[in-house]
Symmetry: C2
Subunit: 504 residues, 2 copies
């Protein structure tokens, strides 16, 4: 408690709201990992009720009155202080959420809960038609939402992106993606010409789910996954969730014949989990207790998945662990074979299994389709055709089924329009951060090769994680890197060096 009863009163309210918010996360996690399918309809009502109450409590006039009454207090506190940050970020959230009617907020929550079950079903049965009406409903709601919240200068899609990456515009993203595409084009040409230099056999074989799970655990624990505060569960589409900084839940999907998705997927989700796990405990039960944006979040997940996980040092360190679980297989494939297979470039139709070079092309496809869907230029009827067409044109692959095509990702069923760009923004940011980390920890690569992750974890905790959502994405960029914009140069440099060597 502070010396300011008005501030304490705000904090108490925000603590309760945060509880409701995190309860919603637990319900969502439960729905995706544990709940029997029969529970879906009532779960949607439960989530709707939770959202109704949270929205009413947060948008109440009393919250606005408290925020007004705290203007002097806020001005007197240092900008970097928890108190000033809490008031500042809450004021932004409050103004935005006041534009959303309770009915709309509840309708979105209910539609997403129902769409999740429908999507799982549709994906399993390759039945896009059964998912289509749910998707259409979500799109209508997201358009209404965008209209409610957007600033005069924002497009609808800008407004949706802002929920995930505050302060960036669609045009800015398009410019960044264009620079990446231009930058990787010559590399891709070179790789295509030398495609036979790298093969993926080391990741193909018979990998029973239980053993994959054991391998993931054996790999994650040295990284910082403690059973006292973490869980790993199987699910249809991998994700990270949490109920508190000491209750982190990541999920993954076990493919019986390919090791990559679960192995690198769990490293990816670990990166998300670690961000939330290392937020300053003083921010627990406040709306600052989470990563500042999805771009920053993906910078962490893509860093652990790729810059750490797909590095030569890491793959060589982890190889004995692979061998312990899949003895025969990894007696045939040594560490270097595993490293090469883990970095094989091959256009494919599944984003989460995509290599680092073609990854952005997957994101661009979704980024373009989303803009068209939100603008109403593309209908849900035409979506699978448009999807398949772009996959053919950008990646040169034929999509074999909607399950492996337009239904592959969970995001749209959850109403996450505007989320996908953050994956590539995160990948780019990760490389930018890596330059700074290598400067501060010159021994980094050797440490990874020895399985020492504490210094890296500490760096991320100290510079990024502990702040939670105290600073905006751009403020954090300023603080951590001293720059104002995401820069694609380190990312392109990294790709050219790494894949240039592999496909020399």
């Amino acid at each position: 408690m502070s010396n300011n009863p008005t501030y304490d009163s705000l904090r108490t309210r925000l603590g309760e709201l945060h509880d409701l918010n995190k309860i919603g996360w637990v319900l969502g996690w439960d729905q995706r990992t544990m709940m029997a399918p029969g529970g879906g309809a009532v779960r949607a009502d439960q989530i709707a009720t939770l959202n109704r109450i949270a929205h009413e409590k947060f948008t109440a006039d009393e919250v606005g009155d408290l925020l007004e009454a705290l203007r002097d207090f806020e001005a007197a506190e240092p900008y970097e202080s928890d108190a000033a940050a809490l008031i500042r970020r809450t004021r932004y959230d409050y103004q935005r959420e006041r534009r959303v009617s309770t009915d709309l907020r509840v309708a979105m929550a209910r539609a997403s809960a129902l769409a999740n079950s429908a999507w799982v079903q549709a994906r399993r049965n390759n039945d896009y038609a059964s998912f289509k009406p749910r998707l259409a409903e979500i799109l209508d709601l997201k358009r209404a939402y965008a209209d409610a919240v957007r600033e005069p200068e924002q497009s609808r899609y800008d407004a949706l992106v802002d929920d995930f990456e505050h302060g960036i515009t669609t045009i800015e993203i398009a410019e960044i993606f264009s620079a990446v595409r231009d930058g990787i084009a010559p590399l891709l040409t070179r790789i295509t010409a030398n495609a036979d230099k790298v093969d993926g056999a080391a990741l193909q074989g018979d990998f029973p789910a239980e053993q994959q799970a054991a391998l993931c655990r054996a790999t994650l624990e040295p990284l910082g996954f403690h059973p006292g505060a973490w869980r790993l569960d199987p699910t249809v589409h991998p994700f990270a969730s949490n109920s508190a900084t000491q209750d982190i839940r990541i999920t993954t999907r076990y493919e019986p014949h390919i090791l990559g998705p679960a192995f690198f997927g769990s490293l990816h989700e670990f990166g998300h989990g670690l961000y939330e796990h290392q937020v300053d405990p003083a921010l627990e039960r406040t709306p600052l207790c989470r990563g500042t944006s999805l771009g920053w979040h993906e910078s962490q997940s893509r860093m652990w998945e790729n810059l750490v996980g797909r590095s030569r040092a890491f793959t060589h360190w982890v190889h004995p662990r692979l061998k312990r679980v899949f003895r025969k297989h990894f007696a045939r494939y040594d560490a270097e074979a595993f490293y090469r297979a883990a970095n094989r470039v091959q256009p494919s139709f599944i984003r989460i299994e995509a290599d680092e070079v073609t990854y952005t092309l997957h994101i661009v496809i979704r980024f373009e389709l989303e803009q068209e869907l939100i603008a109403g230029a593309l209908s849900v009827d035409d979506l699978p055709l448009a999807w398949n067409d772009k996959m053919r044109r950008y990646l040169g692959v034929e999509v074999p089924s909607d399950s492996l095509g337009v239904l592959q990702d969970v995001h749209w069923s959850a109403g996450y329009f505007g989320y996908f760009p953050t994956y590539s923004l995160g990948s780019i940011l990760a490389s930018q951060l890596w330059v700074a980390i290598e400067r501060d920890i010159p021994d980094l690569e050797r440490q990874i090769g020895r399985g020492e992750f504490q210094p890296l974890r500490a760096w991320l905790g100290e510079h990024i994680h502990k702040h939670g959502r105290k600073f905006t994405p751009r403020e954090l960029l300023q603080r951590v890197l001293g720059v104002d914009r995401i820069d694609v140069a380190p990312y392109l440099g990294y790709l050219h060096t790494k894949f240039g060597e592999l496909y020399a």
Copy 2:
């Protein structure tokens, strides 16, 4: 929706309250089965917040106004109608809950959530001292609660019992238990003299948890456990929970060298689950959507555990399934050996593993200790000694450790004082019901022997389950059996016949 907007308004409010209530069940289930230990502190806050909101919403004057405004509507509806029952039962709940302050309700919820983690820890480490302060806190709160809600003619303990078995008194329970103890005394003497007639070897061996889980599933599925609406998970202390009638969650505990606890325990929890699963779907998302009392609930769980599960017909039907999972073991022990081992009478210190004859003695011990604790005549300091002393005097067993003694059950950590008597009341009621069921289904035993459970399930659904909480425990007794009181005669008759034969 009805034609009465006042009623619809009540229903909408109660639907939201029911959502909050069931969300609390999901959080509790999650805490006991899934949550990493680190999440305990924040989970307690989440549960406290949920309880605060639910209590404030339910006890609001507007709910009382709606109930008043509905008096004519209620009188015009048939007594048995859903609408009349909803108003009637809600009026009772409302009057009772209005006597409880929000602070007290929240304090109880938080204390229970924290005590659960403390209990798991204490039980694991055989460390009663670490649990003691939590238990003392819960007792203080339960006394305050009893004082708040009790009617002038009720003792504190009466008031606590009423939460679990509405309408029964401590004196009535004591009379029933006394009749049972008198009734089983000569039987126990005879059994003790012939103790070597039955041995438990068929249930002892090496039973890996995973195979036990497979066996439980293979047994439960023909009974009515459908994966589309049910879950089975491991936990420290078995329980049944649910989020909706189509989302039933039961748990069990796998002992590596004894098959009984998990096998018969999961039948027990199945009985609870089936009650909730078969409530009329029209009552979903209303406060009537659950069993009417814990006594009735235990009548169902104890029925499936004992009258079905430990019957000769059932054990003979299930034996091939046992053999399929534990081939070598059950090649040595035939169906009859399994039947006899499942019904071996032997005073032991673990209630959930107790035989049917000595079971009530376990309950009497807790019933007596609870009354003394609530009255303040027994302190938490002296509890382990008092526990061990009663175990010695009533059951003739020496308690080897607090983990296997006073810490063995989850109930007190959850604040469930007054719950234990319902186990024995349920066992007695189950036998009373069984007489009626055998009259209606003369072929019952042979059906069980053939693995046909649908007729029994349908009888229970039609006569008991579908009504949910529409009728009070006593009203249901009247409707189902045409009597006003629980009668120990069928129960004693059943025990004498079954165990007289086994120990002849």
